[in-house]
Symmetry: C2
Subunit: 374 residues, 2 copies
Amino acid sequence: MPIPRDARKTRRRSNAAAATIHDVAARAGVSVATVSRVLNGIAVVREETSRDVRAAAKFLRYVPNVAARSLSIRRSQTIGIVLPDVHGEFFSEVIRGIDLAARREGYHILVSGSHNDPGEMLEVVETMRGRVDGLMIMAPDVTLAPIEELMARELPVVLLNAAARTGDAITIDNFGGARAVMRHLHELGHTRVAFVCGPLHNADARERLRGYRHAMRGMETAALRALEFQGAFTEESGFAAGQKIAASLPRPTAVFAANDSMAVGALAAFAAAGIRVPESMSVVGFDDIPIARYVAPPLTTMRVDIAELGRRAFALLLDIIINPAAHTARRERVATTLVVRGSCAVAKSASTRQTRPHRAARVPGSGREKGEVL
Amino acid sequence: MPIPRDARKTRRRSNAAAATIHDVAARAGVSVATVSRVLNGIAVVREETSRDVRAAAKFLRYVPNVAARSLSIRRSQTIGIVLPDVHGEFFSEVIRGIDLAARREGYHILVSGSHNDPGEMLEVVETMRGRVDGLMIMAPDVTLAPIEELMARELPVVLLNAAARTGDAITIDNFGGARAVMRHLHELGHTRVAFVCGPLHNADARERLRGYRHAMRGMETAALRALEFQGAFTEESGFAAGQKIAASLPRPTAVFAANDSMAVGALAAFAAAGIRVPESMSVVGFDDIPIARYVAPPLTTMRVDIAELGRRAFALLLDIIINPAAHTARRERVATTLVVRGSCAVAKSASTRQTRPHRAARVPGSGREKGEVL
DNA sequence: CGCAAAAATGTAAACGTTTACACGAATCGC
DNA sequence: GCGATTCGTGTAAACGTTTACATTTTTGCG
């Protein structure tokens, strides 16, 4: 449908449709190339011309058409984020961290959540292809990990918090964090420490378990297994585990829950069972979610800087996008920090005075030590 | 740089760059128009041709270039979501709800959070223009509301949970919910009910306050004001308010906190002050955030179906996008549900037996009644 | 003042789709 | 059996940018 350009232009200006670069060029009395150059600051343009163009653009409320631009430069200035189907503020924090970093660099983020099976995830990745310059995939489930490796050659991909063995990834220092928690409990004199485990298909859960076991090494396996309770990272499962722990004999003096939600559930179970925390039972969590400091008693936990996780992941992804050839796979680890609150006390059998734990306990901010990584 | 088309095509197929519709057409021995028709199911194409095209596309791992498509059809199949700079699972739930609904309709979502001043928000909206087919703006702050009205004529916009007086919007039934909470407390015999208010620039907070005051009507203003405590929707502010309430004389028999976070904070304050809940003090929250059921005692609260909020907002936005001309502004309200847990009991002065509140209390799911809306 | 070099700007192809219109081949009614 | 439909397919313009190259204007220098 060949419409003469000038006719088209007339129509365009008459109704309310958005102004194009041609409109700006016409109004400023220059060519589209010049307009493009001015607006992108790409080449030397005479000061006066530049002013005219800017004025025309402003007057027409010109906004470049992103699709056309993407088509031309073959980049979308957008990255995709694929999240698993899990709720909670963990994810909003991750998005926040990424968004903050991305906006600084002029990138937008396309989000898709709610996928826990490889098929659906692959489908999402497929529809994002071509729409994004790079992909960030959060796949804590070990069973999901292999999929992304397929994509790696086609699109820059960073795995968040994942179990994959290859490619670029950012993970939380779960192992080191778990060991630091255990060290804290040991310093308080606890030796009989129960563990509430997260879902076993979750890579974070596994690593935390590994840290726990590493600290408990020397115990015979049977005795160790008796101290481990299965959970699912939910308050509910933590509550159930807490009930079992309350009923177990001999009862542990401390509980390390693999995340805060389960710790909160366990706390509720102990309260219901009449077990006082921290006097008769010490409890530690992992993540430092916001309510951790408002439960009774305030929860001692391992803080994970989630926004930092997002920030670092974006930096890594950008590095790949900018120079895919020169990039060599990196795997980074985000440190964790012990936050001491009121849910732990000196073990009954081991202590004399109430003040000792305060000397022994790490102050917030020093939770991770040199050389404790894997 | 005029490169003959066939030369270009050769280059293209030789290195690893993505296949285009031309490659598919060439391989299937048809024209690009036919390929487009097959892949979009837009017109009648002979079964055999269709098969060939599909096979060629599959073989070449063809994925349509979204930018080119957007440019051509002048739509991006993407909607933008602008969130304020607030954390917490409320937002991840909203995104979840929208994402679910959007994906079903083949839409993607572009997210941008972290804006609490009009300037930054406007900037974000500006950069999203042209990139999205419609916008969803969450602006609980009354001061932010006016901005979007500017945009309304340029781009389909739905306000979530906002204070604007015009345009399309989805809001929570804060007023009705607050009244239902108060009715529940009245039925338990409470007349001296304190209120912990959210930030006054927040429209949700204002409506909940209005519901509270409506229920307390008949009280003289001075006495009423003495029962209102300022908070900020945070646990911390709830804790502070709880301390003040604990010290106030005569002490209220119940507290209605404008959100769960503050209710949790107040609970902690009462525990610290030795005030037993629910025996000496009833507490109700608003939102039903996940931990609500795991604090001690489990919190009675008003549930807001957040995912539903997102779902309805998307449906509304889609309606505008599809037929902007025929659309007439709608303002919808999402209902809330009273969830009775253990944080409320019959008022001391009014009751005889412990069982009565259970008869009087509404069961979960029946919190909202006909005719109680504004 | 004249000419070469540098600077500023213009021209038009390319990015990969969609789709109005054109066109040839079946199919139909009589 | 032959014009009129219908059906299937192809051709090429259009979407709004960017940018290589061409062209014009300015500047510098003898």
